[in-house]
């Protein structure tokens, strides 16, 4: 799975999105994060593992407490998206100019 796929897999689940939303407010322990969800801790830990593998969060253990935090740097996907949009519109405008000059204008010259 590439990074983008892993990210979307991670975000394709309500529980995991809720965890991300909660961590948007600051770091939290697994115990705190698990509290709102009616599931056994091992099941919840699987969600945490998926989020960690996607690079969206990181966790570290101190004593018996595992604390999770967002990896802000990996939330730059939106910016990549923006660059993609720019590329898209640049090339789209080039194709429009090319189409008008080489197709529509030629047709017009034939008619006139």
């Amino acid at each position: 799975m590439n990074t983008l796929d892993a990210v979307f897999h991670a975000l394709g689940d309500n529980t995991r999105r809720a965890v991300i939303a909660r961590l948007g407010g600051g770091p939290a322990s697994v115990k705190e994060l698990a509290e709102p969800f009616p599931m056994a801790l091992p099941s919840f830990m699987k969600h945490i593992a998926i989020l960690e593998n996607s690079g969206l969060i990181t966790s570290e253990k101190q004593g018996r407490v595992r604390t999770c935090r967002l990896r802000e740097e990996n939330f730059a996907l939106a910016e990549q998206w923006f660059d993609a949009q720019r590329d898209l519109w640049e090339s789209r405008t080039d194709r429009l100019a090319d189409f008008v000059e080489n197709q529509l204008m030629k047709g017009k010259n034939r008619d006139g």
Binding site: R17, Q80, Q85, R86, L88, S91, T93
Partner: protein, 154 residues
């Protein structure tokens, strides 16, 4: 103009405005330049007037499809086109409003001064509101665009 959120592209097209206009007005023309080959564009809806629907379907080489539906907010013949995906046809709100594009055509000694301004909503908001379903609707779009851009580069 917000440099973080807006794109502005200008070109001089060597053709009179009414000819450039035809490239937008006729769906048969639009599909020829909307997406790069080998992506195939289909015009789903092209109600080219104020309040009319604007829908395209892009089909990638691997068979995946990327549909988008928006609404023409303003259509002034040979002058201006504004469309947005915040609304679909007849002003009905879409689930994930996202962009508005303002296309303007002006006379130029060599033909037409063409500009496309594309406005987006806040990048930060998109990052911060993951729980608001942004990725539900746009995850697919995002992936499609990613593969789309990869195809552009190849």
């Amino acid at each position: 103009m917000d440099k973080e959120l807006d794109i502005e592209i200008s070109r001089v097209i060597k053709a009179p405005r009414d000819i450039v206009w035809q490239a937008w007005r006729d769906p048969a023309n639009l599909v020829q330049w909307w997406a790069p080959k080998p992506v195939v564009t289909e015009s789903i809806k092209h109600e080219f007037y104020t309040g009319g629907g604007f829908g395209t379907l892009m089909r990638m080489e691997d068979g995946s499809e990327f549909a988008s539906e928006g609404c023409f907010l303003q259509v002034v013949e040979n002058e201006k086109i504004i469309f947005s995906d915040a609304l679909s046809s007849g002003w009905r709100p879409n689930a994930s409003p996202f962009m508005t594009a303002i296309i303007t055509l002006e006379d130029h000694p060599e033909g037409t001064a063409y500009s496309a301004q594309v406005l987006h909503n806040s990048v930060e908001a998109r990052q911060r509101h993951l729980d608001m379903g942004f990725f539900d609707g746009w995850g697919t779009v995002f992936e499609q665009l990613d593969s789309f851009v990869q195809q552009l580069k190849n």
